[in-house]
Symmetry: C2
């Protein structure tokens, strides 16, 4: 029992978890041991490579703060986040497609009045977003909180800026759908942007000659009582990174056509003040087990 | 290309690493993607479980300091460290067996004269260690640095104590073999001890009903020019945890018989001052590529 060869070692480690009280935890850990050991054996991993992995994981953990989640980023660029999303949403039944939460959701947003300009202080091409939340049959869902967040014209989220805690949110808000399931707001057209490359994950992307870009998009988190919470984003048609999103998050159905407009007034009857873009996108929710717990991997920033 | 099913997603992620310049890095990453994706699919991992994993890895990284390596500890309790050791030491040819470095090596030790008591200030049963370093044919190897470290009578390493940096090393030293390949020193008999349980890894051990104990042992790192560096430890026969070491590090050949003695003098002719134990163990080195780089996963503590 003490003199292990490879295979006996794996058996002993699996057996060491035999007394785990929770059967699902036991299963997950024993399968993890199988996967990890299989990987080491299949690759004949060297000490230097193991050492690099230990150091990489340590640096990834130490890069995390309340508003920076480098392990989610790692999961994203390895396609793991999208795969977890896929295995948990096998049958959509016509509901809007889901995609990864991403590392820039910082917890519940502030409720904001319809029509508000959530990027008021930012330069960029103006955009009006009109949307509606319905059930699978198209029945409007009223009073549903919808969290929205997107990058600015330089490709940065508010939470990535050093003065975020003092400044408070920008291009980040919550709307509550009206009696017709509608919500609408003003913002700027988001642009494609690189994931943060100043940490271990960015270093990996560079060293493997991948590009770090995500196609332009707006994140939506729709959380209605009695329905499956919907975490998704809507992409801008024509973006050159739609086919090579660094986090593999694009689905055809989530690409919105953006209309270029010159009408002097926007859909809510207020002045447009120059040319603008119109994004129209509707969300269809699937029945589900009531309000979800706090969305995944999120740390609520104190002032968000 | 943008509308992925599970399998297409995995293929796309693997392909994203196709332009990696270093072929070994490319292989390791592509195999990693296969393993991770296979794990998610096989377990139908839920969002809550993924979220737990992200948080667990983050806490593990944030527990690391210059003298605490929680990711090595995680690798150890999952048997990964011993497996990496195994796949890299398939043919021993009669050389001493290897085992994991463990998280308590803190970089090169201070050279200490033969016979010194390296645990002088500690309570515990006194022990004399006599050893020799030879090649595979038994030819003594002179001038070889041998690093030694072990836990105290309460099961703690010096580097685990809050005043470590100020106090300097204890039960931790380097000896240089003499013309006969010998080295010897005084210390205390180490005891079995738990791995640190105040971090995420200890939490996992508790939640899975595993015990956290390692059988009593002394670590040795023998690093001779022209030979494979030897990282190993020597266990005390009779320890009740020899069959269930939490890090799977025990090998039969590494268990030393400890002689209980009452002779008034120790082997170097100096007074024994009461009953004592004698550990005798010899190390056989295999030819190899000269001095190794700094041992794995180590951060040199400033005052070590």
């Amino acid at each position: 029992m003490t003199q292990f060869n490879d295979a006996e070692l794996t058996t002993a480690v699996i057996r060491s978890f035999d007394q785990t009280p929770n059967p699902r935890v036991k299963f997950l850990l024993q399968e993890l041991v199988k996967s990890l050991h299989d990987y080491v054996r299949r690759t004949d991993l060297t000490f230097e490579e193991w050492d690099y992995a230990i150091d990489f994981l340590t640096r990834t953990g130490q890069k995390c703060t309340d508003i920076r989640q480098e392990f989610i980023l790692l999961s994203d660029v390895l396609g793991v986040s999208m795969l977890v999303d896929a295995v948990n949403h096998r049958n959509r039944d016509g509901a809007t497609e889901t995609t990864v939460l991403g590392p820039f959701y910082v917890g519940e947003h502030k409720v904001t009045p319809h029509g508000a300009d959530i990027s008021a202080s930012l330069p960029g091409e103006r955009m009006f977003v009109q949307s509606r939340v319905t059930d699978l049959k198209g029945k409007p869902l009223a009073g549903v909180p919808v969290d929205i967040w997107h990058a600015d014209d330089d490709g940065f989220y508010d939470s990535q800026k050093p003065d975020y805690t003092a400044q408070g949110p920008s291009s980040r808000a919550r709307f509550i759908t009206d009696a017709d399931g509608r919500f609408y707001f003003r913002t700027i057209v988001p642009c494609s942007y690189p994931i943060p490359t100043d940490g271990p994950v960015g270093q990996m992307i560079k060293q493997t000659n991948r590009h770090a870009m995500r196609p332009a998009h707006v994140h939506f988190l729709v959380n209605a009582k009695g329905y499956e919470p919907l975490i998704t984003h809507v992409f801008m048609d024509g973006d050159k990174y739609l086919d090579s999103d660094v986090v593999f998050g694009v689905k055809d159905e989530l690409i919105a056509t953006i209309e270029k407009r010159t009408d002097p007034v926007m859909p809510d009857g207020k002045s447009a003040d120059g040319p603008w873009s119109l994004m129209t996108y509707e969300f269809r929710l699937k029945p589900g087990g009531g309000m979800a717990p706090a969305p995944l991997g999120t740390k609520v920033a104190e002032d968000a």
